[in-house]
């Protein structure tokens, strides 16, 4: 299991380095590469689930924070950083078209925020589920 996660991570990291010079992508293209990673980690993987993504977004995962703590219950709305109070723009692409278009930025924030909320990296499946749900959120 941990080897699988490591493999997924290695792919994710390599992806980020390559894409640092790459042009902007669409959330759909991001989903395609996350799906490839998820399949690599688990050959039984079929498709991402928006429903799992929503559950993941709202869960505290055993700590103090959930994704919704800073990105609000409704990710089409602006949020606030839980400690500094600074405004955070909406996370849902329909409300903020810049989201999930810069692979380097996406990788950086998944790493940080998953660490803060789950005390570990997110798997490709968790990321893909989340993006799948965010793409269904309308402002």
């Amino acid at each position: 299991m941990s080897i699988r996660i490591l493999a997924a991570l290695a792919i994710a990291t390599a992806g980020a380095v390559v894409s640092s010079t790459a042009a902007a992508i669409s959330p759909a293209e991001l989903q395609t590469s996350l799906a490839a990673e998820a399949r690599q980690a688990d050959p039984a993987f079929r498709e991402f689930s928006a429903q799992r993504g929503e559950t993941f977004y709202r869960a505290k995962h055993g700590g103090d924070w959930s994704c919704s703590t800073c990105h609000t219950d409704n990710p089409a709305m602006p949020g606030n950083h839980a400690v500094t109070n600074k405004a955070v723009k909406p996370l849902a692409p329909a409300a903020n078209p810049d989201r999930f278009t810069n692979p380097e930025k996406v990788a950086k924030w998944f790493k940080r925020n998953c660490n803060d909320v789950l005390k570990r990296a997110c798997t490709a499946q968790e990321k893909g589920d989340l993006v799948a749900w965010l793409l269904t959120v309308k402002p």
Partner: protein, 151 residues
């Protein structure tokens, strides 16, 4: 590509100094604002000494309760910028391990010992309404209701 971006960054960085006495410290290089201005305002590099910034930059993965980790190249470029723009005065030296600029002797003298209820001194914008532009001049200060600087 990377190298050009980096040298562009260093060029801008060299001009990021405050006008002496004006209390306007910006504008800061875009990379600094992007990486260090996403969770709070990009703090003026001139308000902490180089050893203080070094301490901050060495523990970004455990950054005041948040993970602010950066990829090595970016971290080095920003650490360089901070070191070169840092204060050389004792009054801006860190006074504790976490190297908060809100705990230097200068900050304490300027702000008193006690922040307003439910506001951290780290939240500059709570009083300095133009802090996101590096502007801490007196005319842009608006204090939270009921708070006065104690002595």
């Amino acid at each position: 590509m990377k190298a050009t971006l980096l040298s562009a960054f260093l060029l801008i960085a060299a001009t990021g100094n405050a006008l002496a006495g004006s209390h306007v410290y910006g504008p800061f290089p875009a990379d600094y604002v992007e990486e260090c201005g996403s969770c709070h305002v990009a703090f003026p590099p001139q308000l902490l000494t180089a050893p203080g910034w070094q301490r901050v930059m060495e523990q970004l993965d455990k950054h005041y309760g948040a993970d602010a980790s950066l990829e090595d190249k970016r971290r080095t470029a920003i650490a360089d910028f901070l070191r070169r723009s840092a204060s050389t005065r004792d009054k801006h030296a860190p006074t504790e391990a976490s190297a908060r600029l809100s705990r230097t002797a200068w900050f304490a003298r300027e702000h008193g010992p006690t922040p307003p209820a439910k506001v951290s001194f780290a939240e500059c914008t709570a009083c300095h309404t133009a802090a996101d532009r590096g502007d801490y001049s007196e005319r842009s200060i608006k204090l939270p209701a009921g708070w006065r600087r104690a002595r």
